[in-house]
Structure formats: C-alpha cells, structure tokens
Amino acid sequence: MKDTDFIQNILASEKIGTVNLLRSFLDEVHITVAGADFTKACALLHNRLSSPVMMFFAEDLREQSGSFALNCVFLSMQMQSWREMFGIEPSGNPDLRSLRLHDEIWPKGYYPLRKDFAAPREKISDRPRYLFKRVDGEGIFEVPVGPVHAGIIGPGHFRFSTAGEPIISLELRLGWTHRGIEKLLEGKSIPEAIKIFERISGDTAFGYSMAFCLAVEKAQGIDVPLRSQLIRVLCLELERLYNHANDMGGIALDVGFSFPAQFASLIKEAFLQLNDAVCGSRYLKGVNIVGGTLLDIDTVKSALIRTTLTKIRKDFCTLEEMLLSSVSFMDRADATGILRTKTARDLGVTGLAARASGIGLDTRNVFPDIYRSLSFKTAKEQTGDVAARLKVRCSEVTESLGLIQQCLQKLAICDPHKKRTAIEKSGAALGCVEAWRGPVLVWTRLDTAEKIERCKIVDPSFHNWEGLSYAVLGNIIPDFPLCNKSFDLSYPGNDL
C-alpha cells in the first residue's frame, strides 16, 4: 500500500474528509483538511503514525485566499505561538501564555507575523503582568532564578517551588533573547538569510544554515553534488563533536569535578582550532551556500583532519574513562533528572534527550539522503537520567569520528565540485537536519523574486525545555544545574 493511501485510510477511519492529499517531493506528503477537522487530524496522526508532531505554524494568506493557513509538520504546545504572532485564537487550548512577546513589554493587538503588521508606537504594554503558577501549602518555598544567571550563559527565568529539599514544580519562562527572526527573514534574499541562520543559535550555526539550504534546494529543485553533501556531513559531525566535548566537560563542572572539565575544554578548543584551520571559522560559519559548500577538502586539509582526530579520539577515551570510572561522579549522575520514556513521548521530546530516554529517533536515518550511504549506529539508553544523556554523548562521539573517517575516504575518490543551477525560482519546502541537540526544522516559502515570503524555524530545544521541567521534579535545587547541563538546551534557538 502506498503511504498516501495509508494516511487516507487513517483519516477516513475517524471520518475526517481530506480536501487534498499529495506527494509534493520525494520525502514530503502534503495533507489538506478543513479548518474544523484540523486539531482532530493532528492528534490522530500524532498518535497513529510513528512520526510525532514536530512543527506547528501559521501563514498569512489573507491576500491570496482570504484566510490564515494553519500548518502542522509531523516528524506540542505550539499553538501559543500562533496566538501571539498572528492573533489567531485557538479553541480548546487552555494555555494562553505568551512565549516570546512578554506581557510586560508588548502591547495588545500587535501581531508581528501578519503581513500588515506595523511596530507599536507606544512604549508601555497595556497587558496584565505575567502570573506564575502558584503552589500553595505549608512549608512551600518559591525560588525565582534569572533571567540574569550567575554564569556566562543565556538568559531564562526559572521559578522553582520546593517542599523541603525536593523540587515539586518548575515553571520556565523563556523568550528573553527573542529577536524577531522569523519576521526579520521575510523579504530577505537567500545569501542574506544564510547569514541570519548562522546566528540563530551560535553552537548550531552549521546545522541551521544546512537546514535552510536543504529547504531552498528542495523547493528550487537543485541537485547538490555528492562532494558537497559529504563536506556537509563532515562539518555537521565536527559541530556535534565540539559540542559534545563541551557538554561532557560542563556536566563534570556542574558537580565540581574540575579536572575532566578543564580537560574537556581543551578538547573543545582543539576542535575550534581545527574548524578554523579547515574552513576559516571557529564556528563553521560561511561554509554553506545554496547548491553546495564554499569549502573544499583537499589532501592537505584531509591529512590535517585525520591526524587531529586520531589524537582527539585518544583524548575522548581518557575523558570518558575519567568520568565513568569516578564513583563520586557517577553517584551524582546516576538516577538524577530522570525523564521517563512515556513523559518524553507525550511531550514530543526529540533528539539527544529522547535517545537517552529510550526513544531511538535519529532523523539521520532518513534525512538528508547522504547519511544512508554511510554507516553509523543510533545511540540509545533506557534510563533517561543524567548518566544516560552522558553515555549517549559518549557513543555519539565514537560514531561521529567514524562518520568523518568515512567521509574523508569517499572525498578522496570523489569528483570535484560542479555548480548546479536552480530549476524553479519560487516554491515551499521543509529542510530537516539532525544537529547535535536534535532535529532542526526549517520550512520556507520563496516568492518569484527568490525572496523569503515566510519562514518557520523549530529548534529541538523548543520541545525539550518542557522535558527538562519534568525531569527535575523530585530532585534538589543543587542538582538543577547538572540536569540543565545534561540537556544543554538553547535559549536563542528556542526564543528565535
């Protein structure tokens, strides 16, 4: 049975009449349903397909068809963002908090992503103050933390309620680094947009620019040469490696185990210097362009990567041994910050955090195509605690080092770059990249002048922050930094 028929059958079983069902790209199926059936259809597909809801977004098509279009990508609390950005009132959604446009700052009635939006002139918000969930009872303490934290880190507000030592509720208030990126991208040319994508979340600069390029390439029908695809995989894995080194050190640092923490920071520095030597940027910026990469890996660079990685592989083993063989460290990491499989599934937790909670979801098995010609194992742990997230990182490091070796071997016998041109100018498509935190999704619609008409971005952090607020329940506040670092979620990626 074709997958389109399969989806049709699922929808028909609940008497949802599809308006349109079509396969628009090799890896995208578009389902159109009537407005009244939207929520029901989304819930049905989330539960029945093996692909959870990954992205919810709206488009302002009032000029073309007289209404807003609501879109949902399957691969959820995302309805709030329609409400604040478009002024669409969802029915039956009890949570109406603003995610990014804070109540104290932004006046009522201004919806940035509407096409007729004009920035408000008055400076002061007329909306009531944001109210935190209150936990009442004898001996309950409320501990507010942030937005400015003690360390060198992004801003976020955490509201803990504790009974004695254990945390019984954690409410996250994010959005502090909101820069209006989705609106800013509208009307931008593709090279301008790539620059912005590289600055959405600095530690995933390559993942973001790659996801955007994949979306544009798919929409415009551009075939990317094999050589560029391999270079992209190589860079994406380098990004994964330096961030995993950073986090393994960070987890050690947050229990006060400074020797491995400093050791890991040197491994990260080695990667950053390697990145700089290979592509001229410590954070792999300026590599991706639509249709390929600006970077080529010649024999000199290839040899440099090989020798550096051989040394780094040894260092990673030392680091892993230092951490996993330390009884006092493992005592802190074991059974701390447990995210149960069911909770993770219900919240739609993705990426690394999901794999540590027993959900073997790695989009590299499907997107982009090139990964299917390379061999790697999907890391998976069952326990969902800090130790599990650390172990997933350890195994992913090994796999990434292997992937880079395979890329270098293939690059040595691969034809040189060929420039490909666009077939279509306009169109819409989804780009998906399994960056180090999890899948980064970018959906974009281009107009006939190759400018961006609408762009929707979802960072894995958007799903996973909610997972963190469940994982810390029952733990003590001093363990919060440890739990937080084991997820290592992005503030700017979530806030956009």
Binding site: P112, I152, G154, P155, D203, Q262, L266
Partner: protein, 177 residues
C-alpha cells in the same frame, strides 16, 4: 581519613598534564599579551579586574568564546581577569547581543546593582548597533541605546586572542584610571 588524603597528596605530588591534548598549539602571543595585560591591570585596577557578563540576546557564540578565555590554554585568570557571579563584585559589565526588548529592564537593573566606579564593554557585532538584527521589531538596536558603552570588542564572535588584544589596546589608551 584525613591522614590518608594528606598522604595521598604528598606521595602523588602535583598531577598535571602537559598542554598537549589533541596536539593543539598555544600561540606564543598568549604569553606576551598576557604579561602586558597583567602589568596594565596591576597598574590600573589595583591587581585584578573583575567582569560580570550579561547575555541580552546573543546567539551564544560570543559566550562560548568568553568561556574559552578561561580554558587552560588561554587561562586569562592568571593575568588578573576574572568573571564574577554577581554585579556587586564587578568593575565592568560585559554585554553581548543586540538587547532584546525583554532584556532591557534586567540589563539596566544589573548595571544599577554594580558599585562605582564602573564601566560597560560591549562584545560582538550585534552588540553594537544591533548588527544583523538592527531592523527587528524586538531589539533596542545595540547596547549603546541602553547604557553608556566605553569599549566595544568587534567580531562575530571575537576569538579569545581578539578579546585579549582589544582589552590591552584599550588599557594602553589610558581611558580608565
């Protein structure tokens, strides 16, 4: 118990590794810059210079480079520069990001919490004029629109060496006394 710990530390001696993981090369410039930084900080700030960092909407790359300044290779703490947890302990405020409207109040409060004399350093291209984000509906268009800025460190992000060089050049100008 205490005896065992003591015996352990005496018999094992100092446990250090040579700065060689992954064969990274420490640029000789770190040492020469550092020695000069140390001299200038000693003269200008009475031995040490304490910085409080605030992210007002950066992408995180600037933070990553500021943290890298403290890794064992650069280790700028040995030259007298320290990143502190509270604005009450700080001589200078180091600010990254184009200042998201949500962060404006928190930034001002952090500045007000600092004892004088104090000054502001902005770091990274979007902290000055908002960079790529200057046309956004939700940014204040750079730190200078919120607080008086004495020094700007350019770069996207500036590497640890650039941060050290810019700081040193600034101290040589003799603005802070």
């Amino acid at each position: 118990m205490n005896f065992r710990i003591l015996k352990n530390s005496i018999t094992k001696g100092r446990i250090t590794l040579p700065l060689d993981p992954a064969g990274i090369v420490a640029s000789p410039e770190i040492e020469s810059l550092g020695a000069e930084l140390k001299r200038m900080i000693h003269a200008n700030f009475g031995r040490s210079f304490h910085i409080r960092e605030v992210d007002t909407g950066s992408c995180g790359a600037c933070e990553s480079e500021i943290i890298a300044c403290s890794n064992p290779m650069y280790d700028i703490q040995r030259f007298g520069i320290d990143f502190v947890a509270s604005p009450r302990h700080a001589d200078a405020l180091l600010i990254t990001g184009p200042v998201s409207k949500n962060m404006k109040l928190a930034l001002k409060k952090t500045y007000e919490a600092m004892p004088g004399p104090k000054f502001v350093i902005s770091l990274g291209d979007c902290a000055k004029g908002g960079g790529l984000f200057k046309d956004s509906y939700y940014t204040c268009g750079g730190v200078e629109n919120v607080l008086p800025v004495t020094l700007h460190i350019p770069g996207c992000p500036p590497s640890p060496l650039v941060i050290m060089r810019t700081l040193l050049a600034f101290l040589h100008e003799g603005v802070v006394k």
